[in-house]
Amino acid sequence: MTCTEFLQLLDDLIDDAVSTTLRSEVEQHLQKCGHCEVVFNTTRKTIEIYRCHEIYELPADLRERLHTAIMDRCRRSC
């Protein structure tokens, strides 16, 4: 397996959508190729960090205000 082939599989690897045979080929490549190993681990980490940290927080008071406004508008519309 080449680095380019690995890169093409990256998304499927992250989503765990790779067959067992292909997976072992990937593991063989990763054992020899430190660059791809780093890319694999840090890309996974990137996704995890974005998933676990709220970057656009909706503060409770604003949430309540918007919620009330939405429901008021819905009630008026019918």
Binding site: L7, L10, D11, I14, G34, H35, V38, V39, N41, T42, T43, K45, T46, I47, E48, I49, Y50, R51, C52, H53, E54, I55, Y56, E57, L58, L62, R63, L66, H67, A69, I70, M71, R73, C74, R75, S77, C78
Partner: protein, 226 residues
Amino acid sequence: MSTIQSIAGQNEQHPDVALVERVKAGDVSAYDELVRKYERQIFRIAQHITQNREDAEDVMQDAFLKAYEKLDQFQGNAKFYTWLVRIAVNESLMRLRKRRTGKMVSIDEDLKTEEGSVPRDFADWAPNPEQNYNQSELAGILRKTIQGLPHGFRVVFALRDVEGLSTEETAETLGLSVPAVKSRLLRARLQLRERLSRYFKRKTAPTAQHGAPSGIDGALAQPKGN
């Protein structure tokens, strides 16, 4: 997020179906429940696309109102949430267009960049690198980094990886093909990784430990994941 990737099988009804039926029958309180359930996600998606707090507030309100008014057109076999997200994405793109008056905004814009299609930075990251920053520093880094993506990549990443929609749902929501979503997702992921590397890579040549226990010990003591 777990609400989206429902474990429920095909023949088990998604709880939203009953709520939608109640709304259609005139029960506004059922809509109140749906709004409460999804308002944070919709706000987040609107922020991701518009990059503007006021616009996101407007989009959130308009999207829920529009969904309410058009609920008759909602087909029960689609998921309410993805249908709602599609409305919110369209509203967000309209806002973006208004801001850049006269300029067409589509999700196909600005995608010619080659950046990120090939990784360049191979430095390994520190273990749990996000813990080297406090909450607001980290949020600032993550915002700044994702804001630098072309919005056609940003929205795919936001829906697929942050909100947890499937590739097919993301494609349907954005009116893109599955291969187009896949290629954008890979580029988005790689670009973000590349840019975050600047903040998260392991500091080379660690200086002598002057009895600072927070470093290595602290890192090792961290529980996996959070």
